[in-house]
């Protein structure tokens, strides 16, 4: 029994939300809030249903023909549902956060409309059943995030938007070329096909490698791999919920997820190894990991530091993908989820500091733990997770990646992982130290840059609880990683599906 409506409806919830939001007047704040939350909750429910269906062994597929030989396919497979779950969960959190964050700001209609579109695209990316559909949503994502990036409308934001577009659109073009080449070689190629592209290996080795380079090159821009990462730190001018979503799920993850799809579902891991592309990818990812960390150390403001940290962290996923073996796969998949949770927490917290206290620079953070304990606690959890310390989710993935590296006989990857952990510690622990162990305005030394008392608690409740929630989840995902339907469990399920057909 194929429930074709399921992926379509899941996709449509946020699309409808976007349409309704666009058609509402700017002043209809309450209705918009309801619509946002309703759609987010509905989407989570639908994704839960999909999780259930997938674990029962169904792969619900919706498809129709666009032109001859090219279909539009939405398929709820395990990998896609995993990403969909992440994005819908984080969408709920981020929506709540954004409602609080944009309290009283201008252009909220535009913001939430494009926000919903952005999530639609992300979900579409998750559920795409073939490369063409993926491309559609991938480009949609570029377009729908642009208004969010330039939301502030300042000269800096506009410049950032321009850089963002330069990178992403060029990447989109490269990707398009790769996809077209692939389609001309193989016709429509579903992600669900078992044999990958191996039948073409003998005759088209060079072409396959070229296509791989184009595809991954195009995707790597969104995944912010060095040296294609330049847009990401600049895009930090966007409002905090946008940065959170951009970093945690939407954009960078879309790139990483695309690479996952290309390697696992398109080429097949054996073929990728055969072509020798995985090693190159692993090296590139390692360079990105180390470079991102090094640059993060040099940053003196909070959000840029987090941005470079993202650059470094997202490449863990790529690194895991390029390790040939189940552990690397599990690590990559789990990191996709874990990093999302942890990074979104960090960005929420950064936004909270900025909103409540006006903190943007690291040296303004002294003693903020006393003023905003829950936020700081959440931040600490996120930071420890980034370092990869147990019991946070970050440890789990780092562990699996390391195991995968050993399994693949790539010992140097372990060195990279350890070095990255250490570097992460070098740039996150000082922040944690500042938060808790230094004396600052909360202890009567100096003044916060711009203090607003937004709520009864340490800040506005809408801002606080999402951060706390994601922090709790990211601890829970690490502490109880062995539970059924935990991220790790699901990742294992997907990986086993990949390796043991």
């Amino acid at each position: 029994m194929n429930a074709a409506w399921l992926p379509l409806t899941t996709l449509a919830t946020s699309l409808f939300a976007a349409v309704i939001i666009f058609s509402l007047p700017e002043e209809a704040r309450r209705v918009r809030t309801y619509i946002n939350l309703l759609a987010a909750v509905a989407k989570i429910l639908l994704v839960i249903v999909m999780v259930g269906r997938v674990s029962e062994g169904y792969e619900d597929t919706f498809s129709f023909q666009i032109v001859g030989g090219v279909d539009f396919v939405l398929r709820a497979d395990a990998l896609g549902v995993m990403f969909a779950g992440l994005s819908s969960l984080l969408w709920l959190c981020t929506t709540i956060y954004a409602i609080g964050y944009l309290e009283g700001a201008a252009n909220r209609k535009r913001f939430f409309g494009f926000f919903s579109l952005c999530v639609t695209s992300t979900l579409g990316i998750a559920l795409s059943g073939n490369l063409f559909t993926f491309l559609i949503f991938y480009e949609m994502l570029t377009l729908s995030t642009y208004p969010l990036v330039v939301h502030a409308g300042s000269a800096k934001a506009l410049a950032a938007g321009r850089v963002y577009l330069r990178y992403t659109l060029t990447a989109g073009v490269v990707l398009l070329l790769g996809v077209v080449l692939l389609y001309s070689l193989t016709n429509d190629h579903s992600f669900a096909s078992e044999q990958g592209l191996s039948p073409y290996l003998d005759d088209h080795r060079g072409l396959l490698t070229l296509i791989f380079a184009l595809l991954v090159g195009g995707l790597a821009v969104k995944a912010a791999m060095v040296p294609l990462h330049g847009w990401l730190p600049r895009a930090m001018v966007a409002p905090a919920p946008v940065s959170a979503l951009l970093h945690a799920v939407a954009v960078v993850k879309a790139g990483a997820f695309g690479i996952l799809r290309v390697i696992y579902d398109l080429y097949g891991i054996e073929l990728s190894v055969e072509l020798g592309v995985t090693t190159v990818l692993a090296v590139a990812a390692s360079i990105t990991i180390i470079y991102g960390s090094l640059r993060a150390i040099a940053q003196e403001e909070l959000k840029p530091r987090l941005a470079f940290s993202t650059i470094s962290q997202v490449s863990y996923v790529v690194l895991g993908v390029s390790l040939f073996g189940p552990f690397g796969t599990i690590g990559a998949l789990a990191h996709l989820l874990h990093q999302g949770l942890m990074k979104v927490t960090l960005f929420f917290c950064a936004g909270n500091y900025a909103e409540e206290l006006g903190i943007h620079r690291l040296d303004e953070m002294d003693g903020a733990g006393k003023r905003m304990p829950l936020t700081s606690l959440a931040f600490t959890v996120g930071a420890l997770g980034m370092i990869g310390l147990p019991p946070t989710a970050g440890f789990i993935t780092k562990w699996y990646l390391g195991m995968g590296a050993i399994e693949a006989d790539m010992y140097w990857v372990v060195a990279v992982l350890v070095a990255s952990s250490t570097l992460n510690a070098i740039y996150f622990l000082p922040i944690v130290h500042r938060l808790w162990f230094r004396e600052g305005p909360a202890h009567g030394k100096g003044q916060w840059p711009k203090e607003q008392s937004l709520g009864r608690l340490e800040t506005h409740g809408w801002l606080l609880w999402p951060a706390v929630l994601t922090a709790v989840i990211s601890i829970g995902a690490g502490l109880l990683a062995g539970l059924p339907f935990s991220p790790l469990d699901w990742a294992t399920r997907v990986a086993v599906g990949e390796y043991l057909p």
């Binding site: 001859g68 506009l158 989109g172 398009l176």
Partner: protein, 496 residues
């Protein structure tokens, strides 16, 4: 190639209802146009009502086509054979023409009410009617005489409409356009004359059967090609286009950019398909010029100061995409797959561009009306005050950029695939570069509009429906991309 244009005999006689529908399609626009001159509708509803029967008639024809296949009409008047036919392609073009024109017509009353134009407005409706009739006739014509007559009347109607705004710049540009269009059609006529004298017929089917590759055919093809290129604003003969669009009324620009230039291109494609089925270099030349067009149009649009110049220049670039497709469709030894892909892509792009360009002109017109200025700088802050118009502009731009999920994307996809299969890497590069250039100039608009630091303007409120019509067109361009299978099915249906 030729069956794709429906240039073959068939045995079925059209149903009687189809005859009436044909009459309605060809005559009703003129009739209603004339009535419009008398009554000068200032509301949306009567215009919409007038459009209805025409659209219905078009629908009936398309339905008949789907049932029966190719439809042919033939008359003999004073020893002259006149032939019309409805192939899948013509049906598709007819639909696009009618719906786009209807959208433009519905948009017009609101526009006129807000811009308070001069007395020459009375000419608008009859000219529009004439234009639509002539366009419909072009899609249907199957002999050179009708084609010539329709082409000329379309051209004159278009010139007339473009002049209506009465601004000196418009007159100047219109005069240039008029002269070039007339000379272009004389070149076309010269070519036709050569063909007629050699092969002794004006009927396309007969011509196709008789024509042989020999120097005279080539000279004729060259003359026809040059003349039509001038009329279709193909690079480098596009110079007249930008000023014309810049100064005309918005609905007129929309109609012109969306349909009129496409008609010349259609004829060019069809005649070259007949005359030069096996030539390699002429289509290549067009394609090379097309690549230049993509880059040139993009650059000009990128540096444009005013919104309408930008859109008009973008048309040049977009035509380049179509030009680039020429060697994929025309030429010797093209494998069936790339040929069919390119064929689909060509027409899909043409249609998508028609819808999107009309939508874009309307959205831009709305922005210009609301801000009272046509320069890009005046857009500052519009994202807050006129989000819908801007959104429509953006959606139309998505089609132009060829980003999914739009007709532009699907068309580009098809073209790219065809180019890859035929290994025309330069064209691939041009197409991809075109995407980036388009993005560059489109997002330049957005950059201005997102500027929040600009001083506030007083914005003129828009008439009801003005945004809605544009939105419908833009959405249609999206839908055309996602549901391209259905319209393209019509294209293939004629091959039965």
């Amino acid at each position: 190639m030729i069956w794709r244009f429906g240039l073959y005999d068939n045995t079925f006689d059209p149903l009687w209802m189809t005859d009436w529908a044909l009459a309605a399609v060809l005559l009703l626009p003129m009739v209603f146009g004339a009535l419009g001159a008398v009554f000068r509708p200032s509301r949306l509803l009567p215009v919409a009502l007038a459009c209805l029967p025409i659209l219905l008639a078009g629908g009936v024809m398309v339905l008949d086509y789907q049932q029966v296949g190719l439809l042919r009409w033939q008359w003999e008047v004073a020893g002259i054979e006149l032939t019309l036919r409805l192939s899948g392609l013509s049906a598709l073009m007819l639909l696009i023409t009618q719906w786009t024109a209807a959208a433009v017509a519905v948009y017009t009353p609101g526009y006129l009410r807000l811009t308070l134009p001069n007395a020459s407005v009375r000419w608008l409706w009859p000219l529009m009617g004439l234009l639509v009739s002539a366009l419909s006739l072009i899609w249907l014509a199957a002999d050179l005489l009708i084609l010539y007559a329709a082409l000329e009347s379309m051209g004159l109607a278009a010139v007339g409409m473009l002049l209506l705004s009465g601004k000196s710049a418009a007159l100047q540009a219109g005069m240039r356009y008029l002269l070039l269009a007339l000379v272009g059609s004389l070149a076309f006529l010269l070519g036709v004359a050569l063909l007629m004298s050699q092969w002794g017929t004006l009927d396309l089917i007969a011509l196709e059967a008789r024509v042989e590759p020999e120097p005279l055919t080539w000279v004729a093809a060259a003359l026809i090609g040059a003349g039509l290129a001038l009329k279709a604003a193909l690079f480098p003969l596009h110079g007249w286009l930008t000023p014309v669009h810049e100064n005309a009324w918005t609905p007129v620009s929309a109609l012109h950019a969306a349909l009129v230039i496409k008609a010349s291109l259609y004829i060019l494609m069809m005649l070259w398909g007949i005359l030069l089925p096996e030539t390699l270099f002429a289509p290549r030349l067009v394609a090379w010029l097309g690549m230049l067009a993509i880059v040139w149009g993009g650059l000009v649009a990128w540096r444009a100061d005013s919104l309408k110049t930008l859109i008009a220049s973008s048309t040049v670039g977009q035509l380049g995409y179509l030009m680039v497709a020429f060697p994929l469709v025309l030429g010797p030894n093209i494998a069936p797959l790339p040929l069919s892909l390119a064929w689909d892509g060509f027409w899909l792009h043409l249609m998508g561009h028609a819808l999107a360009k009309a939508a874009m002109f309307m959205a831009a017109g709305n922005l210009i009306i609301a801000t009272g200025e046509s320069s890009l700088k005046a857009l500052a802050g519009t994202s807050r005050r006129l989000p819908l118009s801007l959104l429509i502009f953006g959606m139309a731009a998505v089609t132009l950029m060829g980003l999914p999920p739009s007709a532009g994307f699907t068309a580009k996809w098809l073209l790219l695939q065809s180019m890859v299969l035929t290994q025309q890497w330069l064209a691939v590069a041009a197409l991809l570069a075109g995407t980036l250039l388009t993005a560059a100039y489109v997002f330049r608009v957005f950059r201005y509009s997102f500027d929040e630091t600009a001083p506030r303007h007083d914005y003129q409120p828009l008439a009801p429906g003005m945004d809605a019509v544009a939105l419908c067109l833009a959405v249609a361009a999206f839908a055309l991309g996602l549901l391209a299978h259905f319209p393209l099915g019509l294209l293939h249906g004629g091959g039965a």
